[in-house]
């Protein structure tokens, strides 16, 4: 039967209501909520 995915989507930062889709894989902390203790530094580029 599966589960109600709304809390899972929320934990991922996916807003199903919003029109604008925001990427989540680039700031993905961990596959599990329990090990997503802190935000991780995403890729970035600083010009010289």
């Amino acid at each position: 039967i599966g589960i109600d995915l709304s809390s899972v989507l929320h934990s991922l930062g996916i807003d199903s209501e919003s029109n604008r889709r925001s990427r989540v894989l680039d700031t993905f902390q961990s596959p599990w909520v329990e090990t997503s203790r802190c935000e991780v530094e995403p890729r970035f580029f600083v010009p010289d």
Partner: protein, 512 residues
């Protein structure tokens, strides 16, 4: 000893790289001397050094106070390796060979560590090494490696970028959970790493998709193998939860990956993971507009998107085995002898275990059935573009009669798997969904099945219903098909014996 000398050199490196920026002249000079003075003069030298450095770093992690910086040595090693990829002279051998050698040495040290220590093995330092390599590589590659001053080197690295990720993925495949269960959770974390997964998904020309599909297959394979209806270990349940979140994230960011690889992904997911299957099957390309499937005025043929065939990355034709010729020949000129050939090719010689809903073994080659079904769907859409819609939206066309033949002549089990395979193509609005909607409706209402008609109808209703009674998401194509069937003949549907036999189902149908 040589090992002690190597350890000393590495220790010096660890101290140095904490005090200076990686581009400092002193750092570069240190590496230059490592090469000139024989520490890294050849492959054997590199293997010795790498083994020693890695063992030292892992021990450093094990012996460090957990509240302190436990990864300093590992991170230093990562930094050195990335620097070597940039600085070494690659005239004799390639960067690809060097990277493979590097990962091979890690694999040897890793294998020995986990082999010796079994349950006291700790995956974290190895995870950290892979993670830091990804982060350090990412820091280097920004804006096409613009930080590399030498233009020739910069060009080489730009060309090497794709190989870096694919070689990394190849080695990740070596560490798959079935082979190294002691690394399983670190493995899943690496697969979904922010510096790996989005990169692999977005490499130009889908260059990372083949390897990525292989890795997802490894994950699903592990889950499929150790999910039992009676008792599934708690750890496997946790693996499932992680896999679910990762796949949902992919569905959000790059749904095209799931859309174009749905066939191969589903080959590795047990049927009882219905919601996970639905997530994959209900993914749609970002630009496609999904109309309301419950809209009573919906006309599938009028939907623009339904004229466009679904993009396919993993072509099922490679899985047709000896049946490609008979199937293609049948589509050109159908004959009963070709039908018999195809049918006999679908049966297995041995039972295969499967965690199905209501069954535990299969006598038929489910993967082959899936391959044929998708292949015929692809060919049908191509035929429509070549000739006309009437060539395929026609119960006399070979495209349709192939399925009808399989259903008529096949056992109940074969009927079931064929219908399941057709249902797997009822996805977002596209030409395949449109055609298979036609196929399944015509199979439902066909009066040529005689005494088998109720069996066929029961299997179709069961197949569609089991995909809708789960929690969302539900596939657009499945909902539309179900609504079609309900709309056209709702009164006699509720009267069907197999519906009346199960009061709960009767209630659902009546409510719907």
């Amino acid at each position: 000893t040589k090992a002690e000398k190597t350890a000393l050199v590495f220790t010096e490196w660890v101290k140095l790289i904490q005090r200076l920026d990686g581009d400092d002249e002193t750092v570069l000079e240190f590496i230059r001397q490592m090469i000139e003075k024989g520490v890294l003069q050849d492959s054997n030298g590199f293997i010795c050094f790498m083994k020693s450095a890695l063992e030292l770093s892992v021990n450093s992690f094990k012996e460090s106070d957990p509240t302190s910086e436990v990864f300093i040595a590992i991170d230093s090693l990562s930094k050195l390796l990335i620097k070597l990829i940039c600085l070494l002279d690659f005239k004799q051998s390639s960067r690809e060979e060097f990277l493979s050698l590097m990962f091979s040495v890690v694999t040897l040290v890793f294998s020995e560590d986990q082999g010796r220590n079994d349950t006291s093995f700790n995956e974290r330092p190895y995870f950290r090494l892979f993670s830091s390599l990804l982060c350090d590589w990412e820091a280097l590659r920004g804006h096409k490696f613009v930080k590399i001053k030498d233009p020739a080197c910069r060009k080489e690295l730009v060309n090497f970028d794709e190989s870096f990720y694919n070689i990394f993925a190849s080695f990740l495949h070596v560490y798959q959970p079935i082979a190294f269960p002691g690394f399983a959770f670190a493995w899943i974390t690496l697969l979904s790493h922010r510096m790996f997964l989005p990169r692999m998904l977005r490499l130009p020309n889908k260059a990372g998709w083949s390897k990525l599909l292989l890795l997802f297959t490894d994950l699903l394979n592990f889950m499929a193998h150790y999910t039992k209806r009676t008792e599934t270990h708690d750890a496997v349940t946790v693996v499932y939860k992680g896999a679910l979140r990762v796949i949902l994230a992919v569905s959000n960011d790059v749904p095209e990956f799931l859309v174009e690889n749905h066939y191969e992904l589903l080959n590795n997911i047990p049927p009882i993971y219905m919601q996970l299957r639905n997530i994959i099957l209900s993914s749609a390309p970002t630009k496609v507009v999904i109309p309301d499937p419950y809209d009573p005025n919906i006309e599938l043929h009028d939907i623009e998107a339904c004229q466009v065939p679904a993009a396919i990355f993993y072509d099922p034709v490679q899985d047709l085995k000896g049946l490609k010729k008979p199937v293609d020949n049948y589509l050109r000129i159908p004959s009963s002898s070709l039908m018999r050939t195809i049918l006999s090719g679908l049966f297995r010689t041995e039972l295969e275990l499967d965690t199905g809903i209501g069954y535990e073994t299969t006598n038929v080659d489910v993967k082959l059935i899936n391959a044929i079904t998708l292949h015929v769907g692809i060919e049908a859409a191509l035929e429509k573009d070549r000739t006309s819609a009437n060539a395929i939206f026609n119960t006399k066309s070979s495209y349709f009669t192939l399925f009808k033949g399989l259903i008529t002549e096949g056992s109940t089990e074969l009927k079931f798997h064929v219908i399941q395979a057709i249902a797997n193509q009822l996805r977002y609005p596209n030409a395949h969904t449109l055609w298979f909607n036609y196929v399944i409706k015509n199979l439902f209402y066909s009066d040529e099945f005689e005494e088998q008609q109720h069996d066929v109808q029961e299997i179709i209703i069961r197949t569609v219903l089991e995909r809708i009674i789960t929690n969302k998401p539900h596939c657009w194509g499945i909902v539309v098909t179900f609504v079609d069937i309900l709309k056209s003949d709702s009164s006699s549907l509720a009267d069907l014996s197999f519906i009346k036999d199960v009061p709960e189902i009767e209630l659902i149908i009546k409510n719907l």
